[in-house]
Amino acid sequence: MKRAFSLPYSFVLMNWAAVVAFYYFVSGRKDVWFRGKLAHSHKSPRRMSH
């Protein structure tokens, strides 16, 4: 039953990641390279700034 929710959630999240990635790419954000920074700020990617 749990999977009925988690599967669509994971699918949508992964696709949303592609949209965020596109935004990062076109806006030329460099901090995406640094794994640590991204991993610690994943809750709110918008807060990431130079």
């Binding site: 669509p8 959630y9 999240l13 990635a21 390279w33 991993a39």
Partner: protein, 352 residues
């Protein structure tokens, strides 16, 4: 409107179902088995690391334990400006033959790999991260594939473990299994479209320096090998182990980085989009480019469906609404069960 709707639907279905189906047919009619053999070249294990003081010891111990002649094995750690004393943890292993390249500036992983490659002596270089560990026979399994002169690179299998140290059954694990299934078929037909950074090996002469801002060194290097006329194959027998991400949000952060790297790849290697220059053009188009397009197609699918009401379109819109409703519900389930992102599975295990 209808054309956009059906085109979007067909492409989304093709990317997730049609392409694997085509690959499985191609595997049956155009399979190219790797001619594995007894091959024991000199090997360099290159570990690029930044701040890994707590993990590097376990990683080096794992490399020293591997089934491969010590005389033919160089273990090289390339440090990228550590600030937590990782270099002291590596120095402890100098007496056991472990070598280190230490850059005081934190430039990035590609720079660490470039510096490491200048010190590598092995005919074959195995790339590894500090976080994962290898199975006992991983190196032997990787190099056996390089007995085939057509093969320039080999990627091993990354197994994601849950808190009980068994292979995870989470959605991330399911997705990863699906990815590995596609990769194994791509390998049987020709080559992978990128490797797993946790475990892959190449012939040293095929490496060329990576631009310092490269996000996906484990895709750029294998693709360069494919462009050089060699194959990059997958061997599920060479295993690396890693802990699964603590929550979908952590996987999200990793995915954003990977997908941004895919966009960067298009800019760095535009000939990937040229069918007559790219030997794995169909795989690249279907696997990498398709995944980048799908989210935009899903938006198009939903928006056009709203305007197309009646008959089958009504049922399809209801199905889409249910899917996204379940996704939102899944979000609330996930945040109820969320594990603080800084706490890794390993840390939870230690705490227990």
């Amino acid at each position: 409107m209808e054309t956009v709707f059906w085109l979007s639907l067909v492409v989304v279905i093709y990317v997730y179902f049609g392409y694997p189906l085509l690959l499985s047919i191609a595997c049956k009619v155009a399979r190219r088995p790797v001619r594995k053999g007894d091959y024991e070249p000199s090997v360099t294990i290159l570990i690029a690391a930044h701040n890994e003081r707590d993990r590097i010891g376990r990683r080096i111990e794992n490399c020293l334990w591997l089934d491969y002649p010590k005389k033919k094995l160089q273990i090289l750690v390339s440090l990228d400006g550590p600030t937590d004393g990782t270099e002291f943890a590596v120095w402890k292993y100098a007496s056991r033959g472990v070598e280190m390249v230490h850059s005081k500036a934190h430039i990035g992983k590609p720079a660490a790999l470039n510096a490491g490659m200048r010190r590598a002596r092995g005919q074959v270089v195995v790339f590894a991260d500090a976080r994962q560990t290898f199975s006992h026979n991983a190196i032997r399994r990787l190099v056996a594939n390089l007995a085939d002169p057509e093969v320039g690179g080999v990627c091993g299998e990354l197994i994601l473990l849950d808190e009980t140290s068994s292979e995870t059954k989470s959605d991330v694990g399911l997705y990863w299994k699906y990815e590995k299934w596609i990769r194994s078929m791509e390998s049987e037909v020709h080559s992978l479209v990128g490797a797993t950074g946790a475990i892959y090996a190449i012939r040293r002469e095929l490496y060329s320096d990576l631009p310092e801002d490269t996000l996906l060194d484990d895709v750029v290097t294998p693709m360069r090998i494919v462009f050089a006329g060699k194959r990059v194959v997958f061997d599920a027998g060479a295993k690396a182990f890693d802990d699964v991400s603590c929550c979908p949000a952590a996987e999200f952060a990793r995915k954003v980085r990977t997908l941004t790297g895919n966009y960067q790849l298009l800019r760095q290697m535009p000939k990937l989009l040229v069918p007559w220059s790219n030997p794995v053009f169909c795989q690249f188009l279907s696997h990498k480019l398709g995944r980048l397009l799908v989210p935009f197609l899903l938006i198009g699918l939903f928006v056009t469906n709203v305007f197309l009401w009646g008959g089958i379109y009504s049922w399809l819109l209801i199905a889409q609404c249910c899917w996204y409703f379940f996704a939102v519900a899944g979000h609330f389930v996930a945040i109820r069960n969320v594990v603080p992102p800084a706490v890794t599975v390993e840390e939870q295990r230690r705490a227990a």
